[in-house]
């Protein structure tokens, strides 16, 4: 036989790896990360705004004072002192928690992975907003969950749509394992769930006995410092809360956590231990001392002012540059603007043209498990400077206009040659 075996493991892979293939879109992002390209794609925070002297001092002190422990294994639930510190972070958003409710994870992302691992058998239904965070979709699909989207509007998740979906599931003999939601400055839609709707969503959840996973990376990054009541605070018995230091301190340090009731917490600790034994003690100590000894909240306030300026630059540039037919969300915080493209333009098809023009965004399809979202794209204002953002939007407007002209010309040409109606 002349077959060349490039992957002799192929027949042995688990079912859940089906569909994990190389992607042209992902390959395009290799170019997008070059400095010549204005990067409006990733949700990276402004880490250059950190006080690096302070970070050095904190890191040095960890090695100096508790080096042997910091470089040792730790417990599966995470460092108790850090969990105390994270309770303070939650308190800054008026969310009550006890250190013992928390499990430290490798970023919020591992929290999502462990929650999916805990609750999802293949085929289980998980409800998410439409659109939803791409990393959550990846985590849930890795456990072969059947992800279903629930509509959102300017006030976030639509409770009536949630109710309809749950009712439909009941009628078809199914239940949802949980609802995953990012209620504050949602990724990618850039909207927040209004306060009245929080009550409504939880009412619906209670009626259908639905668990809720509340992911809150951006709650502290409201431009005006406005706080919205956490779902966890409103219904602690029903809501598992996923937090992270990625957006308010550093994603490189990989500190996230899940707050959950005792039985769930205990299972999560076991899953965490099975996954990686324990979180890095070194980064846990650094985070703990950062929170305990540094004015971390001042850094949050400073950085959200930076994000506000960048968001304003992005909104101004979009208003003055983008062609008619585009519309976008006006976020009150967070990192993202969700932009609708003129009819007939597909965000994924436009991406190569945009990257050739040296601007990068994330096509809307990334945020849907069902292939939808092609008429939208996500722009991030967290990473690029205001000046870069303005230049990026100029480039984006230019390619959108070219694409629009092309699509129109093709449509007109097609129509002239089509038979009369």
């Amino acid at each position: 036989m002349s077959e060349i075996q490039l992957d002799r493991y192929r027949a042995r892979y688990a079912q859940r790896t089906r569909g994990m293939t190389a992607s042209e879109i992902r390959a395009l992002f290799a170019v997008a990360s070059r400095p010549e390209v204005v990067f409006l794609a990733g949700g990276m925070p402004y880490t250059a705004g950190l006080d690096f002297d302070a970070v050095s001092e904190v890191t040095e002190s960890v090695i100096r004072d508790v080096g042997a422990t910091a470089l040792q294994y730790g417990g599966g639930q995470g460092l108790p002192e850090l969990r105390e510190g994270l309770v303070d972070v939650m308190a800054a958003e008026d969310i009550a928690a006890h250190a013992d409710d928390l499990v430290i994870t490798s970023g919020g992302q591992q929290g999502l992975d462990l929650v999916a691992k805990l609750f999802c058998d293949p085929g289980d239904v998980v409800l998410v907003e439409g659109p939803s965070y791409v990393g959550a979709l990846g985590a849930f699909s890795a456990y072969q969950a059947a992800v279903m989207h629930v509509a959102m509007d300017d006030e976030g998740l639509v409770p009536e749509a949630l109710e309809q979906t749950l009712q439909w599931l009941v009628e078809t003999g199914r239940t949802a394992k949980f609802l995953y939601t990012v209620p504050n400055h949602q990724n990618p839609a850039g909207v927040s769930l209004s306060t009245p709707r929080r009550e409504r969503v939880l009412e619906v959840a209670a009626r259908f006995d639905l668990l809720v996973v509340e992911d809150n990376p951006y709650g502290l990054l409201d431009f005006k410092g406005e706080l919205r009541p956490a779902l966890r605070s409103l219904a602690p018995e029903r809501v598992m809360y996923v937090g992270t230091l990625s957006k308010v301190f550093s994603p490189g340090i990989r500190i996230g956590w899940v707050a959950a009731e005792g039985p769930v917490r205990d299972k999560l600790v076991l899953l965490k231990e099975a996954a990686d034994l324990c979180h890095s003690n070194l980064t846990q100590y650094i985070a703990q001392r950062w929170l305990a000894t540094q004015p971390w909240f001042e850094h949050v306030v400073r950085s959200r002012e930076t994000y506000r300026e960048r968001c304003e630059a992005l909104l101004d540039a979009l208003s003055s540059e983008m062609p008619a037919g585009c519309s976008w969300s006006a976020p009150a915080g967070g990192f993202f603007i969700w932009m609708k493209l003129p009819e007939g333009i597909d965000a994924r098809e436009l991406l190569a043209r945009a990257i050739r023009a040296r601007v990068a965004y994330v096509p809307g399809q990334a945020f849907y498990a069902d292939g939808g979202g092609g008429d939208h794209l996500r722009l991030s204002f967290g990473y690029s400077t205001a000046e870069q953002i303005r230049e990026g939007v100029r480039r984006l407007a230019k390619v959108t206009r070219s694409e629009l002209e092309l699509v129109r010309a093709l449509r007109v040409g097609g129509r002239s040659s089509a038979p009369p109606p």
């Binding site: 002349s2 060349i4 190389a22 395009l28 290799a30 070059r34 098809e349 010309a409 040409g413």
Partner: protein, 320 residues
Amino acid sequence: MSGEPVPLRVAVLAGGLSLEREVSLRSGRRVAEALGDRGHQVTRLDLDEGLVDRLVDADVDACYLALHGKAGEDGTIQSLLELLGLPYTGPDAVASAIAWDKVVCKGLLARAGLATPDWVAVSSDAIQDMGAAGALDRVSDRLGSALVVKPAQGGASMGVRRAQAGEDLSGALVTAFSYHDVVLIERFVAGTEVAVSVVDGAPLPAVEIVPRAGTYDFAARYTHGATEFFSPARLDEAALDRCREIAVEAYRIVGCRDVSRADLMVDADGNPWLLELDTCPGMTETSLLPMAAQAGGWDFSVLCERIVRLAAERRRPAHA
């Protein structure tokens, strides 16, 4: 003279700003590691504003171009290296420019009598400024209804779509125009897909390509196991001979050097059609040239060594 060949100082160029950066980086890493394992002194360079300074500082015997896409394959880097007097792998700037543009390359090869599926080139300017969309229904009169739409420049199957005339041709054109402003609409040839690589003018064993999902697209090219490959290809000797002849002819006509890869489709009657010619073939773990070399008895590092030695031999005497 006998003994070990003298190790070379080699710059492996990979990356750049082309849409194929990712694939190029993969090729480059692999080539650099293989040459390093064979004792060469390897420097890896990306294409950026510091490139010339670093090339001059590195004072290399040869540049291995593991570049895919614009600037790496279209003659840009080749012209620059010629100016710097540095030998490099692959064809000179003129041959690169010819091979890089599918409209030019297919036209040249068709004129020389090589069978390549009939095609129509369409530019976005013609669509937008000359009403060319109104002429698109003539495409099927000439090419039939089963079509392949591809950007006239670029590789890795990026932006390439199958289309049916009168159905999804417009959509496929929009996709392809995103990658380049000139697009080729080509008659689709059904059959057995094979790649014939040529090293220093001589063909390596043909590799037959059977994508499990039906189309040899980006995912089928770069996911291990997504495509079945066979070498020798399961075709009769006459068809294989003809494929090899076409690959070598194309190499000669375009003026290739060191290495090339011809992608062909052998139809139900056993007639091979040349689809594309690549003058800087991929060197990734799922690429066709390394598979062909392996089938011919050379492991990957031997292949890299052969190619880089061919380039090093062109080093100007003044540098010796």
